[in-house]
Amino acid sequence: MEFRAANYRIGAREILRPLTLTVEAGETLVLLGRSGSGKTTALKMVNGLLAPASGEVLVDGRATTAWDPVRLKRRIGYVIQDIGLFPHYTVAENVGLVPQLEGWDKARIQARVEALLRQVGLDPHQFAARYPRELSGGQRQRVGVARALAADPTVLLFDEPFGAVDPVTRLDLQKQFLALRRELGKTSIFVTHDVREALMLATRVALLKNGALEVVSTPRAFLESRNPEALAFSECLDWKAPQS
């Protein structure tokens, strides 16, 4: 997967400046940046929710604009902060939706749903028939991840998926994410503004500022970067209030 000088504009304002970046198979690239840095915009160009103003984004060697939009989106799992579970569908129906759209038979969907729920740490017997409103925030987020994995996508996109849960639940979800990555080895792009989360989950961190790419490095090298924006983020990790 590759960004080739892909940029995005709203009117005359360039939200994302031409971005060139390759995402290697199996890696977790974390897009880190402040609010409005263009990280979500970059993410949405991968599954075609946004089309680049110029340049292109390649998925499996083909420009996103050359893909059939429905086929492209079904190959890519997408998890967002608000999760967007369908409130009128049960957990099982939510998770089984893409397989169902893909025309799988009932038995195969059910087996897949049960396996996925176990994979994200939810007991199918307990949760499959529940509705999203009957779940906690963390459980909903797990269902969101299971749904994104359902049709065995080649790429997973995460847009601040753990932003709205309490820190204890967040750590649980982050550990789950690492376990799933070991198990499945999927290529992922993960958007966050939380530098701790970025360093914990990333194989590489891409730092954006005002729509421009500042730094791309491994988490270890990121901590040693002299880039001012990288330093600003690193400071969030170890700054302590002076004792009075």
């Binding site: 086929r71 079904r74 967002i80 967007g84 579970l85 369908f86 409130p87 009128h88 749904r147």
Partner: protein
């Protein structure tokens, strides 16, 4: 009360219900698709809503009167009455269809698009089920109003329970007026209750 009056109440109630059911079926068939359409075409919204709004502001007796000279749909009788009732019922259904669909959570819609659902799939599997309750509330309001307004159909020869009411007014006969008004009110209450139950059943 004599048996002649009773059997006339029965006959006119059936006629009244027919007017309401036919009008509502046609109003739903027109207003729900039109409401869906204007969720997709924001530029048409003021025109479509404006038309339905104007229809609703015309006093109902005047609307029935206006239609009499109109060719094809006008004249004296049931057809004209039904056209007027349909025009009258459009607005609440239209407005609630629009509000119901636009009210679907943006995150839900975005994730539907991102999962690779087509526009038609999003409409039928996500937007319509989530908007159903609001749309039904609009249909409920329109139905109750139509049951009342349909009594005016008698003024242009459309029949229904209004026949009693107009006759009662002309002959200053309270019994006649009540013979029309009470069954009409009962139908309205029953319809309101039944649609209310359905609305609760459909809540998500």
């Amino acid at each position: 009360m004599n048996s002649g009056l009773l059997s006339e109440i029965g006959a006119l109630t059936v006629e009244h219900l027919t007017l309401v059911l036919v009008s509502m079926a046609m109003a739903i068939a027109a207003a729900v698709p039109a409401g869906i359409l204007i969720t997709r075409r924001a530029r048409w919204r003021p025109w479509v809503l404006g038309f339905a709004n104007v229809m609703q502001t015309i006093p109902s007796l005047a609307l029935f009167g206006f239609l009499i000279p109109v060719p094809l749909i006008g004249g004296i009788g049931k057809r004209t009455a039904i056209v007027a009732l349909v025009l009258y019922a459009l607005l609440p259904i239209l407005r609630n269809t629009l509000a119901g669909i636009l009210g679907v959570d943006a995150a839900v819609r975005e994730s539907a698009v991102a999962m690779g659902m087509t526009g038609v799939q999003i409409l039928w599997r996500v937007e319509m089920p989530l908007a159903a309750r609001t749309i039904l509330a609009g249909i409920r309001v329109a139905t109750v109003t139509t049951i009342g307004t349909a009594t005016i159909a008698a003024a242009i020869g459309g029949g229904g329970l209004g026949v009693f009411i107009f006759r009662g007014i002309a002959s200053v006969d309270t019994t006649q007026i009540l013979a029309g008004a009470v069954p009409a009110a009962c139908i309205a209450l029953a319809a309101d209750g039944a649609l209310g139950l359905l609305e609760r059943r459909w809540s998500v």
